[in-house]
């Protein structure tokens, strides 16, 4: 087993790519996979950036081109955004944002998921694409263990509030460090009803969109996500209270959490300190 760790500056941030390869896999065989993943990230940025005035997305927003004149992935992404809007009960709505349609809340996760798919290879046992905290992964770090990720405590951003083992994707949205950047599609005004919302599921694009939706919708959003097959959600209120759907893949939460009142039907708290953890 060896690890190829790559950092790529793209989409206004740095994306981390970690590839866990078989020991026998030569690095020269892994590098092209990483290059391909990076290429996909840059292509997505070039097409969808709303910061680049000449990107097809920017031109579309200004009405200079039609969707049919844009690269085909624009129509693909907007269609997926429409699906996400419907699945989110309208709480995620790129068409309700000031300044015209803006799929940014979906594209980062979508692009990271596409980049991850480029890393699939018989030589690879696991890989992660971490786009500024929105994470897509497959496989694991070695053996049969899944990847584990920490979620930041929004009420104390230096601390982790829990650790999860998502099936494939983990996205978190909130306002605690970006100010009120989330827009309530029902009012067109900035709004967030929880400090942060995390969503896990089989696809990072939709997880990203649903996390945005839950951050705006608040507690009601948990039920919305639960109704979406394969997706689970967790919210942290402004007072630090946590709520999550029964299937949320919680691996551990803070040791100061009370021991009563939160037992889930799936025993999701059994990995707490002092308790025998599940054999995962």
């Amino acid at each position: 087993m060896h690890l190829v760790h790559h950092l790529e500056e793209v989409m206004g941030t740095v994306v981390t790519i970690d590839v866990y390869a078989h020991a026998a896999a030569p690095s020269v065989e892994i590098t092209p996979l990483v290059d391909r993943a990076c290429l996909l990230l840059h292509q997505a940025d070039d097409v969808f950036s709303t910061w680049k005035p000449d990107s097809p997305m920017s031109r579309l927003r200004r009405g200079e081109i039609t969707c049919a004149q844009a690269p085909p992935e624009v129509a693909e992404v907007l269609e997926l955004c429409a699906t996400a809007r419907d699945l989110s009960g309208g709480w995620f709505d790129p068409w309700a944002l000031p300044g015209g349609v803006d799929p940014t809340g979906f594209v980062k996760g979508w692009a990271a998921q596409r980049a991850l798919d480029a890393l699939v290879s018989p030589l690879v046992t696991g890989a992660i694409v971490n786009a500024a905290g929105d994470i897509a992964g497959f496989g694991g770090p070695g053996g049969s263990r899944p990847f584990r990720f920490g979620i930041v405590d929004p009420t104390a951003p230096g601390d982790l509030i829990c650790v999860v083992e998502p099936p494939a994707a983990l996205a978190t949205s909130g306002t605690y460090e970006r100010g009120a950047h989330l827009i309530d599609p029902r009012s067109g005004r900035p709004m967030a009803r929880v400090a942060s919302a995390s969503v896990t599921g089989p696809d990072l694009g939709l997880a990203d969109a649903l996390a945005t939706a839950v951050a705006v919708a608040g507690g009601d959003g948990l039920g919305v996500v639960e109704a979406v097959d394969g997706f689970e959600a967790m919210t942290v209120d402004f007072d630090g209270s946590m709520h999550w759907t029964p299937g949320f893949p919680m691996a551990a939460i803070g040791e100061a959490a009370p021991s009563a009142g939160g037992q889930g039907p799936d025993g999701s708290r059994s990995a707490l300190p002092g308790s025998p953890g599940p054999n995962r």
Partner: protein, 177 residues
């Protein structure tokens, strides 16, 4: 809008109940997690399935310039880590309020210090209050994340993401995962 919210609430009211409880100070601390290392004075032990600590013999000089970097970590053969401290500064990362870079000091494979190397938020007063609130705690988080045997951190942020990414860049230069 109010009507819409009521409709929404009615829509979800019948859905499966959601787990609820308070975690007032819910803090993950060293040793709170399954598999977490509780040894702070030595290189972390190799936990089954954990990302392998890099061999000390593979340490090379830090790349001279920030930017995309790729490092390859060989198979885990935990040997005595060097006791000398090494420091590197990660790539400058754009975050919502400006540009920041993070430096990390490692002793062997253990992070011993993390600090903001540069922070330019353009004098934005809103940014400053956010930075002052979030950054000192983030430094603790970086240490915490390493202790928790996790492969990444998810958070709604630009600042913390920028911090984490620059830190990872610094650690990459030091051949520390």
């Amino acid at each position: 809008m109010r009507r819409a919210m009521i409709v929404m609430a009615a829509t979800v009211a019948g859905l499966v109940g959601v787990l609820t409880f308070r975690t007032t100070p819910a803090r993950l601390t060293l040793g709170a997690l399954p598999g977490a290392s509780v040894t702070r004075t030595a290189p972390p032990p190799t936990v089954a399935g954990a990302p392998p600590p890099p061999s000390s013999t593979t340490t090379t000089g830090a790349p001279p310039a920030p930017g995309p970097t790729t490092t390859t970590t060989p198979a885990p053969t935990t040997t005595a880590a060097p006791t000398t401290s090494r420091t590197a500064t990660g790539a400058s990362v754009n975050y919502n309020w400006g540009v920041m870079s993070v430096s990390a000091t490692v002793t062997g494979t253990r992070i011993t210090k993390v600090f903001i190397a540069s922070l330019d938020d353009g004098g934005n007063s809103r940014s400053q209050s956010i930075d002052q609130q979030s950054i000192p705690i983030l430094e603790q988080q970086a240490l915490q994340a390493q202790s928790a045997n996790i492969q990444g951190v998810s958070g709604a942020s630009y600042t913390s993401a920028g911090f984490a990414q620059s830190l990872q860049s610094a650690l990459g230069k030091l051949n520390v995962k």
